[in-house]
Symmetry: C2
Subunit: 183 residues, 2 copies
Amino acid sequence: MTNNTRTDETVQAFLEKLKDRGLRLTAQRETLFRVIAEDLGNPTSVQNIWDRTREVDPSIGIATIYRTLNLLGEMGVVNIIYLSDGEFRLDVPLQKIHLTAFCRHCGALFPLPAEDEKQHTLEKWLEGTGLELLPQSVAVAGLCTECREALKSPDALPARRGPLGQQGPCLRRRCRRMGRVQE
Amino acid sequence: MTNNTRTDETVQAFLEKLKDRGLRLTAQRETLFRVIAEDLGNPTSVQNIWDRTREVDPSIGIATIYRTLNLLGEMGVVNIIYLSDGEFRLDVPLQKIHLTAFCRHCGALFPLPAEDEKQHTLEKWLEGTGLELLPQSVAVAGLCTECREALKSPDALPARRGPLGQQGPCLRRRCRRMGRVQE
DNA sequence: CTGCGTGCAAATTCTTTGCATGCCC
DNA sequence: GGGCATGCAAAGAATTTGCACGCAG
C-alpha cells in the first residue's frame, strides 16, 4: 500500500510545488504528504494523520502536522471537506470538482460519478456571478436508505453526528507567517 | 430591523419545534433565535452572535449560546456552512437546497438564484446512491473577477482567508445529553 | 554557513461541563 | 413543586506559537 503509482505522482506533485515556492523539502514533509496521499478521500482527522505519520517517523511532532497541513492548504495542494465530529476529508484538487454525497445520519460516503458533467453544471450556475469555479470538493448531505428506515418515527433521535457538530481541524489563524516566499 | 414578518415566522417555527419536542420556551432561547433569524445567511461567528444577543439581554452567558446553537443544529432548525477563519453562515433549511457561491480569496458571497432547479439537479445526481437529499446549504468556491485580476502574477500570495484555515464554531461533541425527549 | 523547519512545551483560543439557583410547566 | 435551563467559573480540547537546535540548500 505504500507504493502505488498514483500515490507517488501525488507526492511528486507536492514536492514540486514546494520547490516552486522556494520552500524546503524535508523528510517530515515528504512522510506526511505520503501518508495523506495514501488515504485521499477518506474521512480522517488530525489525530489519525498524526498516528499514521508516526508509524513511519515516530519523532514527528503534532505541531508539524498542523503546520504542514496548513501549508498544504495555503498552497492549494489539498482541499478539506468537513464531515462532522472533528473529521474531515482531504482531496487533491484535480482541476476539477470533486462532489461527494454523504449520509448525514450514519456518515457513509457515496462518491458520485461523472464529475466532468457536474463541473459544467456548477460553472453554469456561477455564470451570473463573475466567479471562476475553483478546484474543490463539495459535499452534499442526504439520508441513506437504512437511516431513513431507522428514522421512520417522527421523533427519532438526531444523528449521533448531527447536522451541527461539524468541526474541522481548525487549520488556520495567524500562523501564516511561515513558509512565505518573497513578499 | 427587529420586526419583519419573515423573522417572526422563523422565530415562531422554532418555538413550535421546541414545544413539539417537549423542550422549554425560555426568554434566552427566544432572544437568541431572534438574533439569529434576523441575520440569516450572513457570515457570522459565535462571538458575533453572542455580542448581538447581549445587546438585548446582557446577562446571557456564552455557554447558553453554544448550548442553544447545538440544540438548533440537532433539531435540524439551522444549517451551518463554514466559511473560514472561524466564521460560518447559518441558514434555515426551507426544505430546499441553499446554494451559495463565494470567492475564496476575498470571501465575498454570491447567492445563486433559481434554487428549485438546482435542487432537482442535485437530486438527480444522488439518484444512484439511495440517498434522499436533505435540506442544507452548499457552498461553492470560486474566484471573483477582481481577485482574479489581483492574482494574475503566478506566484501571488494565497488568500488571507486561505483554502484551508476553515474553521467552524465547533458546536459538537458529547453535550448531546441535554434537551432530549423521552429515550 | 544561513536561516528555514522541527520538536517540545507552554500559551491561546474555543468549547463544554459541574454546580447551585431560577424559572417554565 | 419538580426538574429543565441558565450563568458562572473551571475544566477540557484543539490549535498555535516561542525557542533552541538540526539540517537543507
